[in-house]
């Protein structure tokens, strides 16, 4: 359930974890978990767990303290009409993006699963790919295409003398960017539900006297409702938490308002706004979790016995084909072409980012450190959760997932407060940035490591113990080698996710520490579109790697999945 939310944590969508989470839960309950420890000494594990819990709680705790210190003026400001407008804008954007995403994703999922639309396999592969664009890259590409003096306008001016296009900044730009980037969440969840649906259910409805249309409304659609709800909430959460796109589109939702307040040094006001955002996000997380629980119950585990019956569209194939092609064109192909265009143009006029090499170096350094630290932190938590199931380890696990309620900008802001006021020796240093990454990305690392640990039967460790090896030897000989794929998975996932992260990097990176993400950001802020192309392309290419890994791993998994 929670890994599902993890994927909206950042722009990356970890399908493998989503698929495995249900069965993990089942396996977990089947294992003997309260046995005498065959892992690390228990006290050491709990000490590590406690340290991690403190680190995780620090931002939220400090945010609350800071908000409590806010003077009456800040509170009065909060109740001004301005805040209400921000609230309406935020929720309005989330709602609009969700609806529009659903309008794109639902027909696309249905067409690729249940009809003979031409090239349906291709559309199914392409549809999730827009997730490789971080939102700020997507926004940058749209602005450079449709914005004032953007590509389209330059293209149209010599022909028809168009001097102004409709305004892209504000709501339309934010809506378009967020929709094109986040509809894959809904597509994936609806497609999975459609594929799982047992055709016998629809046949039963038909045999009981319902026509095709009535069957759709009374059986097919209600069966899809959990998937629609879960996917929709993911999109809404993603929109609520996003900073890059709304900031570039200059649309004042909470995240942008917080950033502006932070820059204006009215920081307790920013803290209040951040807490308000946390409240809204929590509400969405809670609803999402409820939906997921019910959804699992509805879907059951039976699975489709037979392949789905295919509806022959006849003449309607071609409008359907155009729809699929248009989605792929606008969400994937056009952005990619624009990116390549800016890159080429930048290269031709030698307008490249001055210190691209340095930005790459910084990105690799920060993301690499984050990957190592976060994976190491996930290991004891995973062992506690899997092998020492109980109320306390359950609490620790939930705490880890608390980051889902904290958008990146909020965590960054809280750590800025903390660093500036209490730990000036940490403020604007790499360790504080790594801590922010840790709070943001620990859930993802935990998901991967835990899934890997669950595959190791505890009797392997017991066998090693009974063959005369002590705990440390067993850890070294058995646990770590078997955990290696999970550890590598976590390292690469965190490395690539951290590399894309924008708001925390923007607020917390040491002065002069420019990464690929901040390079894109600062170039776009000043409308140097060509300068943004190289780092943006690097980010997109790196973001596509995990998807590639997933595909390879799935293939390899099929081959090696003989039970032992």
């Amino acid at each position: 359930m929670l890994i599902f939310i993890a994927s909206c944590q950042t722009e990356h969508f970890d399908e493998h974890s989503i698929l495995s989470i249900g069965s993990e839960r089942l396996k977990l309950s089947g294992l003997r978990s309260g046995y005498w420890s065959n892992q690390l000494p228990t006290w050491l594990l709990w000490a590590a767990g406690a340290a991690i819990a403190v680190a995780l709680l620090l931002p939220l705790f400090y945010l609350i303290i800071r908000a409590a210190e806010a003077g009456p003026a800040a509170w009065q400001n909060l109740w001004r009409i301005n805040t209400l407008a921000t609230l309406l804008r935020t929720i309005g954007l989330a709602a609009a993006v969700t609806l529009l995403s659903g309008a794109i994703a639902a027909p696309l999922a249905w067409l690729t699963v249940r009809t003979d639309v031409p090239w349906r396999g291709l559309w199914a592969i392409l549809a999730p790919l827009p997730l490789v664009f971080p939102s700020y890259v997507g926004a940058y590409l749209l602005v450079s295409l449709f914005g004032p003096r953007g590509l389209l306008q330059q293209l149209l001016e010599p022909i028809w003398g168009v001097e102004r296009l409709p305004e892209i900044y504000g709501f339309p730009g934010a809506l378009l960017t967020m929709t094109l980037l986040s509809y894959p969440y809904m597509f994936t969840s609806m497609r999975a539900a459609l594929l799982r649906q047992d055709p016998a259910l629809e046949e039963a409805a038909r045999s009981l006297g319902d026509g095709g249309v009535r069957t759709f409304w009374r059986v097919s659609l209600p069966l899809l409702r959990p998937a629609i709800g879960a996917g929709g909430l993911l999109v809404a959460l993603y929109t609520l938490r996003d900073f890059g796109a709304v900031a570039i589109m200059r649309y004042d939702t909470f995240t942008r308002a917080i950033y502006i307040q932070y820059r204006s040094f009215d920081r307790s006001q920013a803290a209040l706004l951040a807490l308000l955002l946390v409240g809204i996000t929590l509400l969405f997380v809670w609803v999402e979790a409820r939906m997921r629980l019910r959804g699992r119950y509805v879907q059951g585990d039976t699975g489709a016995v037979r392949p789905q019956p295919i509806l022959h569209l006849g003449w309607w194939r071609w409008p359907a084909f155009c729809f699929c092609a248009a989605v792929a064109l606008f969400s994937l192909i056009l952005p990619a072409l624009v990116l390549v265009y800016w890159l080429v143009r930048g290269l031709l006029v030698h307008e490249t980012i001055p210190a691209l090499g340095q930005a790459i170096g910084h990105s690799v350094l920060a993301s690499g450190l984050a990957a190592i630290v976060i994976t190491l932190a996930a290991l004891p938590v995973a062992i506690l959760v899997v092998r020492h199931a109980g109320r306390l380890s359950n609490l620790l696990e939930r705490l880890t997932y608390s980051a889902f309620a904290l958008p990146g900008i909020v965590i960054a802001l809280a750590l800025v407060f903390f660093g500036a006021n209490h730990a000036p020796w940490l403020y604007q240093t790499l360790p504080l940035l790594i801590l922010a990454y840790g709070v943001l990305f620990l859930p993802q690392a935990l998901g991967v490591v835990r899934a890997s640990l669950l595959q190791i039967n505890p009797s392997l460790m017991e066998a090693a113990r009974s063959l005369g090896k002590n705990r440390w030897r067993v850890l070294w000989d058995i646990t770590l080698p078997l955990l290696r794929p999970g550890l590598w998975g976590s390292l690469s996932l965190i490395f690539l996710t951290a590399m894309k992260e924008l708001p925390a990097t923007l607020l917390l990176a040491p002065i002069g520490f420019s990464t690929l993400a901040t390079a894109v950001w600062s170039a776009v802020s000043e409308a140097f579109f060509a300068a943004a192309a190289a780092p943006a392309l690097l980010i997109v290419l790196l973001s596509s790697l995990p998807m590639l890994f997933e595909i390879i791993r799935e293939k390899g998994h099929e081959r090696n999945s003989r039970p032992l």
Binding site: G34, N457, A463, R465, L467, D477, R562, L564
Partner: protein, 346 residues
């Protein structure tokens, strides 16, 4: 007097959930194969895991040889007990070859290669050294697990439901193989099973557990002929109970008098554990009993017969003659041995 290899005294272990052990006492002699038998949830696996050192008993003592390994204020971790274990799922290390698996528990002092070769030849797997566990069949994996546990020459070898993961056909053959390997190695063995047939076949002695208590420890023949409790009688072969009364020199049952040794006071109401082969069915149109059900079992017929009292008994008959349901018959009590009998609660 034989040397004792393992002794458990009044073991107790409770969990929040299920399969608690309330009072398990059993001692195993050196070189003996002890089968720990009972229905699922009776605490037999927990007992085994306490001996291995994976669970700490709440009370009671465990000795391996003369050494106390678990008791009040004493707990020897599993790696120092010299107790080998073959797991239900074999628990072969998937990232190690067969020979690395077998060599894992060997100390550096011994000639590891020679010892691996010797142990693998004992289990009949010479030549598989380089293979990985997933490249072996289920039966081969089991023998590797056996070899791995035997290689360090443990003081006792524990087997947890060793045949439950295998198909029916393979199981019978492997039982014979495993028994031969165990005999050849001369190891002291405790094996846990819920299958009576398996326990009777493999065990020199069998300990029957029920609800966390060891109810009887005896040789298979004795267990079958002289069950110490009603549960053992019922569990060890499809026994049913004939009501009757104890007399000084026999049992008075509704199927007549049976002369035998009696271990309760004369006049006590008893129930006698009876099996289908203890009864003889005689066709008799004037007989007082009536066949309810006829079940063909290939080598014989099994009849469910209602006695005049209304009680139903099961009775075997030869496969050459078929009596149909509804026929009137006469039932005679012809065990050829004394029946185990217990005071009947009133």
């Amino acid at each position: 007097m034989n040397e004792i290899a393992v002794r458990c005294e009044n073991l107790k272990k409770t969990f929040q959930t299920n399969s608690a052990v309330h009072n398990a006492s059993v001692s195993v002699q050196k070189g003996e194969i002890m089968a720990l038998l009972g229905p699922s949830g009776c605490g037999k696996t927990t007992t085994l895991r306490m001996i291995a050192g994976f669970e700490r008993p709440d009370a009671g003592r465990i000795y391996v040889g003369e050494r106390l390994v678990a008791g009040p204020g004493c707990f020897v971790p599993p790696e120092q007990r010299q107790v080998g274990m073959v797991f239900q799922n074999y628990a072969l290390f998937p990232h190690m070859s067969v020979s690395d698996n077998v060599a894992y528990g060997l100390s550096r002092k011994v000639d590891r290669r020679a010892c691996v070769a010797e142990t693998l030849s004992l289990v009949g797997l010479s030549g598989t050294e380089k293979r990985m566990p997933h490249e072996l069949s289920g039966g081969q994996q089991q023998r590797v697990a056996l070899a791995r546990a035997l290689a360090p020459k443990p003081r006792v070898l524990l087997l947890d439901e060793p045949f439950s993961g295998l198909d029916e056909g393979l199981r019978d053959q492997l039982r014979g193989d495993v028994l031969q390997i165990l005999r050849q190695s001369g190891a002291t063995v405790i094996l846990v099973t819920h299958n009576q047939e398996e326990a009777l076949f493999l065990g020199d002695r069998v300990a029957v557990m029920h609800d966390g208590v060891v109810e009887q420890v005896a040789a298979p023949e004795q267990l079958y002929a002289q069950p110490a409790s009603r549960f053992v009688a019922e569990f060890m072969g499809s026994a049913f109970f004939l009501h009757g009364v104890a007399r000084p020199n026999g049992l008075e049952t509704e199927l007549g008098f049976l002369a035998q040794a009696v271990n309760v006071a004369s006049g006590t109401p008893i129930e006698a554990a009876t099996r289908p082969d203890d009864l003889t069915l005689i066709a008799d149109p004037a007989g007082p009993a009536r066949i309810l059900n006829t079940i063909y079992r290939g080598g014989s017929y099994l009849y469910e017969v209602q006695l005049p009292s209304g009680n139903v008994v099961r009775c075997e008959g030869p496969h050459t003659v078929r009596h149909a349901a509804g026929e009137a018959v006469r039932i005679e009590l012809t065990p050829g041995h004394g029946l185990a009998h217990f005071v009947r609660p009133l």
